[in-house]
Symmetry: C2
Subunit: 182 residues, 2 copies
DNA sequence: GTCTATAGCCAGATAGAC
DNA sequence: GTCTATCTGGCTATAGAC
């Protein structure tokens, strides 16, 4: 996940796993096979985690607050997953469809219904569910992918960055809520 | 830029350039050397482009509208730059500092001044300049990096996606302006 | 199942003619 | 400066002992 298919070395993986290169090949017949296994495992774990939050029964604003709280915490604790997912969804997008089709839940419909409820209560302005989700995912993900730019421009140390990310669980939620509030 | 340092092949690059592999080595002594040249060129071009918009003399809301208009257009026309930049700033962050130091412009100070002006006019609520910039960059970049997820979830075709991106030059600007408006 | 040793291949880099 | 031919090292994958 850290070095990508081309950059990773079977020897290095074997060392980390505490076994010989030959044993690694004994279990996974080839490097490609091992990679495919990791791919399926990561996506089957990550996607439901992200989108499950949007399916909960809470009102829209609470879903937004929950999303930033949980998604940012997950990214904080699994930093190498991020670049892997971004790189791979662009390289092999069709596998994504397969995984999503298996889950068989109408996440977009659920979000649109939540938005409509909130619009009816006069709380928010209308917005397409897919745009709201995209904006929320963007705001939580890019701060990690672009962290070096952010740190350099702002002259922010690693400790201050962690503190800022922690604050942003809250401020990003309020940013989005303000943006859609009537 | 498309395949990364590990994935790219000197032969392939030579073919594309219409020369032999030996000639390619004659000009750039090694693969690493060629890569470093591309790295410096891309970053020296991209960063000033992004941050130059924030330095203009316009009022804050116009800067926000300009940013989404120009930055999204640039990303649309240079799709391969995106992943390259994101991967490399995480792999070799110190080169970034060097490039930014050379430019010697206080972009953060400029943005904070703009925000303060707008706050004084009673137009917007206070927000840290670095957070505003980070949010704007996030919203414009991730829609490209995460396009496959977005297309799959929303059941969006390639043509519809292009149309949507075009619309989002405007809607994202208004999203951000609403978020910070008093 | 796990290891050491090695086969076989491929890609970066160089030699040397033109 | 540009090419073809070749060297060299490193990596995936396998053979074969234990």
């Amino acid at each position: 996940m850290e070095k990508g298919l081309d950059g990773a070395r079977m020897q290095e993986i074997a060392d980390e796993a505490g076994m010989s290169k030959a044993s690694l090949h004994y279990y996974y017949r080839s490097k490609q096979h091992l990679f495919d296994g990791i791919y399926m495992q990561v996506f089957s774990d990550v996607l439901p985690r992200i989108f499950g939050i949007f399916m909960s029964d809470l009102p829209l604003c609470e879903i937004i607050r929950n999303f930033f709280e949980m998604h940012i915490e997950f990214l904080k604790q699994n930093p190498s997953i991020l670049m892997f997912v971004m790189k791979e969804i662009n390289r092999v997008p069709h596998l994504l469809e397969k995984i999503l089709a298996e889950k068989d839940v109408d996440i977009l419909g659920a979000v649109n219904a939540k938005v409509q409820e909130a619009v009816d209560r006069g709380e928010v302005r209308p917005i397409r569910g897919e745009e709201l989700m995209l904006n929320m995912v963007s705001l939580s993900i890019f701060q990690f992918a672009g962290a070096p730019i952010f740190k350099t421009i702002g002259g922010i140390s690693d400790e201050d960055f962690d503190k800022l990310i922690e604050e942003r669980k809250k401020t990003l939620a309020e940013f989005v809520i303000s943006a859609i509030k009537r």
